[in-house]
Amino acid sequence: MEFTRRDLLKFTGGSAAGLMLTPAPWGLLRDSALVSETWPGVPRPAGGEISIRYTTCTLCPAGCGVRARCVNNQPVSLAGVPGQPTGAGALCPIGLLGHHFRFCGNRAHARLANGRVASLESALAGVSAAIRSCGPRESVAILDPQPGRVASLIYRRFLAGLPNGIHCTPSGSQPFGPFGIDLENTRAVVSFGVPVLDGWLSPGRVLANRGHFQLIQVEAAYSRTASLADLWAPVLPGNERDFADAVIRAMHGGAADPSAAKTAAILLRNGPAIAIGGPAADKLNAELGSFGRSGGFLPRRDYMAVTDIAQVPDGAVRVLFIEERTNSQDIAWDDLRRKLGPDAVVVALTPWLDGIARHADYVIPAPMYLESLDEAPTPDGSTVASFSLSPALLAAPANLISPADFFLRVQHSNSTYSDVIKGRVAAIKKDGGGVIHTYADGKSAAVRDVADIWKNMLAGAIWMDTAGARPMGTRRTAESQAARPAPTPTTEFPLLLLAADSPPARGTPLMSKLYRESGLRQSTGAAAINPKTGRDQGLQDGCRATIKTPDATVTVQVVFDPAVMPGAVQMAGQACSAASIRRI
């Protein structure tokens, strides 16, 4: 039979109808649904045994207690430990993301000697050679980001063995010297540019007490703290001392400009009060008698005086060791370089390649937070000595050596960092004072035997001193120098560049995402300016412009903000200087 058009139609129609009766089309639907529901490329979170482990945050000196929720011993979320003394149960955003630091930045993996991969031995040899080649006038310095640790003791011992070792620390890393702040009883805080509500001390402690102290922020920039303070006294950098004098005068009934007068009034009404941040603060504290009294600065036991790097004579350093922590702020390289001699050797002990390591001759990769046993000594501003451990919760990559262990190796000592820490614990036991506060149950117990303390501390515990410290003089020992005075506007640089809140030292993936989306932190590419000033400069809200300072030029996006001081530009992470701005 021959095949007519009609047959074709019949056939197609029939088969179409027939197909509906087969499972094929319905199966196809189901599968499409399945595909869309288990979308390709969406990771399935690994299930597994869930455990709670405790540690102490070492991302900053505040040393907050950390409760880590782990799956197969891999932390998946961090939280504060309720009732933990130093952290007061809270963590800052950075601390909450502590377990994400390994997923950002440029990690240092291999040891480098002058840019070439080297074995630990050769690195050690090179470093030792450099040390030996030290001349009489030349010194070996270790830049210790957080003095007061057992590691710092190890540095000390190492330097002690050298003719001219200097144990130094970045400027301002010991803001209160041997003193702590009795914030719990303070009723007023005069802050000269200190970000009290933005990362000062431990957030838990500050915010827990925020309700009962008046905050006066003396700062030219409209910072987060300034915007939330009870009184914002915009004072140009360099004029802090005059402001302090004005306040003192006003407190004695003298005449003063409004903000000083208001400040004085607050201080008179709310005592005890303290002042923080620079010499102006010292002046005020002297007036307020804040030292050695409740609600003021109280001395504590364990203070390790360390040279401020600024005090080190220029060109004196032959070998400079720099320890960089997981989250330490970048150190201004220019300030460091001044200290270096002609053929100095720089050794960076750091987890990062993109930090100070860029300037180093030797890079010794160090473990980061949660990757190795670490320690949390007494936090800045704490009135009692304390000590806790930060046991490793993450498996560390190979080739890492903690800075402390590195120096032990340099000294050919056969004890390890953890041995020395054990020694510290033994000392605590010997001292006998204080209590051990365990994170898991929030209970405090008297100090028992060393093994017990050690076990507890590895499981999450902190030793809190109870013995009151013997009173020291009413002067703080550590010298703090005044902020650079604000330059006077010139025709070339008519504006004043002010530092806005600095962004987190290292943006972990989520941190940078969330801050970027919510605009909570002024992005580094933006410059805030008073609308009036902006218009005078021929700018528009949102336009792009170049900012020129005597030593740099940057392109920014202009943001009009009436809160910014007229005649000033605010940028994140910039030093105060004169500037000019031109629209592109």
């Binding site: 649904a33 595909v35 869309s36």
Partner: protein, 411 residues
Amino acid sequence: MLSIDTQLMPRTAQRATTRRFLLWLLPWSALLIFGLYGAGLCLVEGLNQTNMDNRFAFGLWIFLDLTVIALGAGAFFTGFLLYILKKSELKAVINSAVVIGFVCYSGAVAALLVDVGQPLRFWFTFWHPNVHSMLTEVTFCITCYLTVLFIEYVPIILKNRKLRQIPSFLVFEFELHKLMPVLAGVGTFLSFFHQGSLGGLYGVLRGRPFAFREGLAIWPSTFFLFILSAAAAGPAFILLTTWVVSKISGKQLVRPEVPRLLGRISGILLLPYVLLKSIDTLVWINSTSPARGFAAQQFYAWKPFGAWLLFAEIAVFGLFPALILLRRSLRQRTGWLVFASILVCLEIALNRFVLTIQTLALPTLPFDQFLSYFPSWQETATFLGVVAYGVVTYSLSFRYLTLFPQEKDLS
């Protein structure tokens, strides 16, 4: 090859040479391919290819859908007038209207499929429908009505010169055509509903006081305004297309009274629409919006969406063309007819634009920013692709099918 081309055309129709026709198709097909590429990117890479975002969750495409579907309303409304109200003069344009309707609706559906984040799940709406959602109503109606339009399109295709050689095709066409009133009725029902629910789409957004409207039963006032405006725009758009096609093809396609009738219908519907729209706006300004704590004038405080938009929408593109179309003397003049219907189509586009884009641009949180949005090239490409698809489909239909039955006796 050439002879095949001519033998596919209606015998009595004089059409451009194959060469010229291909030249005409060339740019449109290029645009179509470009559009397909853009849409493909959005489907493969995801909607991050667009410039929409969490605040501008809808963009160019929704505007396209609403506008195109409103203009396509000519299909259902002409069908309604012809088959239900027996306005037989409209036989002259019904085929063209059906093709336009089909093009618009299929284009809109295509755009929607690209617009959703999980196109594979389009059928979920039929599986777990939430009958309280206007979008469900829209989805159901559009799919049904697209089917209807397709069925209405079939007979026109079957009458193609080659296909009609097969008697059984003609028979089917004939039988189908006898039942056309039924389909026209269904189509009218469907279109009424989804034109309405497209309006409801925004009218029900109580979270968006700029768009929210009170109404009857479950339907906000925009529901009914959309029906009316679409019914007014449809005939105007048919008038416009007919005029454009006859200009391009250089043929007289319909008797002069047909566009006049279309214009008159459009005018008759537009006037009440403008009046109702004005009343609705007044009610909204004085009651609906304040009741939700929003002072209506603040919606117009954001540049560039000032109160001038409202004026333009109601007076310039609404009242003005309505008055033109209602004057017999002006209707006699093609120039005025065309001008007025252009205004009417713009009116619809503007109305849909305000409802979709302005609504989203306006912040509702007191401390939130006013945000602007500009479509990405992928979005624009898809948009133009839909337009090109329309032009190509219509051109092919015009060349090979009988869209204007009167043409043969007018040439």
